[in-house]
């Protein structure tokens, strides 16, 4: 199977290993839409062949393959490539997760999954394995708010305000990306990480607390603003 027409591949090759044609197609389309070049293998032997031919940048591997056991495929792939491996499985037991991660998988997703989640995890894993991130500026001042990442301090008009660690992380993300709109998913991925399994509405709770700490009125926030239908952004008040 090849990528749908019109997809511009910029993010590298994604090897998808699944004998269920519809699941493989779902992953192919989702990853192609994100700029990956998908390659599909329907069993373990084909997976090993394709991995050697295409040197994928990431591998999404279904454990429930016919023939060679999926865990054995994972183990062999791990010996032959450094590409991150995300295991997907219809089995949800802790035992299978343990075995999967022990034999070299970098992440484990249970079926049924959201294709958005798979894409987010692929991107997160590639970010982590893709070399040093650029050094962030350690201090940002937006309006009356000053955020210092070295000291993990926040001041408003020179007066310190108290934030919990995660609240600080969210504020720091906004502060160093002034004006940029973040969706809930993007905030979760950036701050909580790909293994977050809680309620995405925790983002709203954290935004509410940050506003309260900054003295930013919830009814008409000046700094941490809601962009309806999209998410939030942090700006200097006019």
């Amino acid at each position: 199977m090849s990528a749908p027409a019109g997809a511009v591949a910029t993010r590298g090759c994604a090897l998808i290993v699944d004998d269920e044609p519809h699941v493989a197609e779902l992953l192919r389309d989702a990853l192609a839409a994100e700029g990956f070049t998908p390659v599909i293998a329907v069993d373990g032997l084909a997976a090993l062949r394709r991995a050697r031919e295409h040197a994928p940048d990431v591998i999404v591997l279904d454990i429930g393959l016919p023939g060679i056991d999926g865990f054995e495929v994972c183990r062999t792939l791990r010996k032959e490539t450094d590409a991150p491996i995300i295991v997907i499985s219809a089995r949800t037991g802790e035992i299978d997760k343990i075995v999967g991660l022990e034999v070299g998988a970098d992440d484990y997703i249970s079926k049924p999954f959201s294709p958005r989640e798979v894409v987010a995890r692929v991107r997160a894993i590639l970010r982590r394995s893709g070399g040093e991130p650029p050094q962030p500026t350690k201090r940002r001042t937006i309006g009356d708010v000053c955020v210092d990442a070295d000291r993990r301090e926040v001041t408003v008009r020179g007066t310190a305000v108290r934030l919990k660690p995660r609240e600080f992380d969210v504020l720091w993300l906004f502060a160093r990306n002034e004006g940029r709109v973040f969706t809930r998913d993007q905030l979760i991925e950036a701050v909580w990480g790909f293994d977050f399994e809680g309620d995405p509405r925790t983002v709203d709770v954290h935004v509410r607390r940050i506003r309260r700490a900054l003295g930013d009125p919830a009814s008409k926030p000046r700094y941490l603003q809601t962009v309806h239908g999209l998410g939030y952004k942090f700006v200097a008040p006019k």
């Binding site: 004998d19 519809h22 016919p66 219809a90 075995v99 249970s110 079926k111 049924p112 999954f113």
Partner: protein, 390 residues
Amino acid sequence: MTGDRRHSPSRLPDLATLAPKLRAFARSGRALPLIYIEFASEGKVIGPNARLRGAAYKQAAAAALKASIGSVLRKGDLVAAGAGGSWFIALLTARKAAVRLQTFDADLGVAAERLRHAVQVEFARVRAQHGEGLAHRVTVRSGWNVLEPATDPLEALRHAVRGAALVARIEERRATVLAAVTHELRTPLTAIIGFAERLQGEKLRRAQRSRYLDIIIEESRRLHRLAEGLIDVGSWSAGSLRLDPQSHSLAAILAAAVSAVAERAGAKRVTIRITGAAKAFVDRDRCQQIFINLLDNAVRHSPRGGRVEVTVKQHGRTSTVTVKDHGPGFTPEMRRRAGTPFAAGTGGKVGLGLAVARLLAEAHGGTLSIPASRRGGMVAVTFVRPKDRR
């Protein structure tokens, strides 16, 4: 000996050493909750040598017991092992065992399952770390019983252990069925939820939208077939499965079954060829379900570009359909266990499809067998027309 973290199953006392303590409990008139844990290894060992394998599993057993003691068992609980260390028991002796059980959701079965799970996790961890024989799985079963006070407490204990061992097998079967059902449901659900999300969130061309809707419909039908199969299994178990047998061409039913697996076959470029003809007195929908399950299994295990050969024969009142693939085939153990409903298939995966097919074949008064095959896998289904039917 009590719940001591230093113990491994190989050093656990045997049942006889518990006799003095059991007599004391018997005199007090107290019944003791009993949890039974059994290890069963299966599958082929791929490892450098047997001695290494033995050491690895002793390590796993020791780690498993250590993990379980403290998480489930308490100081004062009595533990003892069976001969060879393939099982051990724990007697919950705390005066407020009832209160502890309430902590465990007031259910001795839940406590047993927690202990089983802790032990199984440790085995999985050691097995994976050791890097040997992933096909060699150790299954941990748990059972439970209550040891009643008796004049011969050791004999009562042996009796209670036998009962708990039976419970362990029943519980394992129940868990296997549940795992089979959830496992089989997850893949069509993945496609349905996934493509529905893509329809929701993406700007798609009309052809792509149409394709996604087709897939959602097809996978929904697959879910429906699964549900119907499970309902039939339940009805069969209860003795209430009702068939509507009529005279049908088996080749025609097979053709319809091939349509249901066409996409999977096409994705792997597997060709399906049907030869021969026969008529049988069958419930059309159930018969089609049998063939779908067999063809799906055959395609799934076929190599890319392979072929599946379906042969239909008639000898008098007996009609036989044989489905042969050129995949890895069935091992002798799989041939033996695939005849058992909800037995593990390749690599520990659960064979719901074959189990349902077998039950439906038997409900028709027919048979499903897995003949030995030199190359590939082969499954044969036989129907016998009743004497009074044409």
